[in-house]
Amino acid sequence: MARRVAVTGLGVACAIGADIESFWTNLIAGRGAIGQLQSLDTSALKVGIGAEVDAELVRAGLKRLRRRPTDRAVDLGLVAAADALEEAGLIDGAPPYEAQPVAVILGTGAGSAESHTTGHARFHERGVRGLRPSTVPRCMYNSISAGISIHFKLTGINYVVVSACTSATNAIGMACRMVRDGYADTVLCGGADGFFDPFYFGIWNNLGVMSKNPDPARACRPFDADRDGTVFGEGAGMLVVESWERARGRGARIRGEVVGYGESSDASHLTSPSAEGQAVAMRDALASAGARPDELGAVNAHGTATRANDECESESIRAVLGDAVEAAPVSANKSYFGHTLGASGAIEAIAALLSIEYGVLPPNLNLENPDPECRVRLVGAEPEPLERPLVMKNSFGFGGSNGVLVLGPGNRG
């Protein structure tokens, strides 16, 4: 029989907080943190705003782990992972750590982008002679999961899932299946991305999906009629998931449950989403959870604030929820900490789990003029109660990948 999947640890590092308490406090207070980018010269770019993680907080988090910075995505991942593992009672403070059979399954969109950009810059400047010996291990996408596995001595399998903006949700889904089906007892899962560097931010700049609104606080406007694109953020979100029996048996505090997971591919276009493909993943997730649409208390949307995503996602949510659509308010957290690409599914899943725990949905920022084409019930400018403690978390990525989680409370039956 399939095992239930308990969430026993949470960790986050994003623009609105590098610890769970600050993250939730800012969410519920409606305090976003999108601003002018400080770590990157954007003078030649169309867009100069984003959601950066406070450099001092990252430095302090690494110092606590007795680590020096290596690559932004790895660093953010380590800081968030430490909190999740510590909350779950798997580590206690600084190294050295005891080896333990915990798997590490992480999503990332841009991987170790900083190391790639640094390596390329050195190569163009000095040729092969400019490449340090560690360039290979630093540039591996799995340097994020490997770095965390090695640092914390986690001996279960480690790998990364790369599916653009769906990466972390797919990673949590894989972890959920591993635990459900008995392939692992405990998995650290989530995602990390840090790509505010001239190359990676530059390519997004040229794709034209970013908001050109010069006012950072008002630029990211999911489901608003005046939205003109997404705003990027850096960050990491980590969850410790384990079998319900194991968590109970060792007296761990269960903060939530991964109740179901669904996935699909649009198989139609590299960057344009498909409502049909998204709906398949949502129905798959609900079936996996054994839940009806009218049992959902809310939907935590992918909600990128691009014209295409929000309209398409509204259509797919309506198609799946049917008559229940008015009873499941939609949250879009990217208005707070930007689109964190391959980390977004994890950071937003954490927001959804905290909403379930505290019974309240954070407001949607900048939703001043809801788009009439987005015919879903949106959370407004004030927090609102979560009526039923079951939340669907959507993530959709370039490449047509769709991943959907159904999340529940830690005290369900």
């Binding site: 007795r66 020096r68 290596t70 340090r132 010996p133 560690s134």
Partner: protein, 84 residues
Amino acid sequence: MDEDGGAAILARLRDVLRDSAVEEHDWDAVVPETHIESLGFDSLTILDVLYDLEEEFGVALEPKQVVKTHTVGEIVTLLQQNGA
């Protein structure tokens, strides 16, 4: 390690070690007797140290020689022997 110029080389070596390191340490407390392994370097990260030493001091070092060193002072001596 040769005292003449050794202190100056040690100061530059500390910076190289710090910039190549994964672990955080009190770099001011690194002395000639400090063991390289205690600073968290392994068979991979020591290769970055080798690379950075060649860049910093403009010398060519044999990887085998660097791997044989155990202490910071032995690296200083190696650098001096190679013309640093």
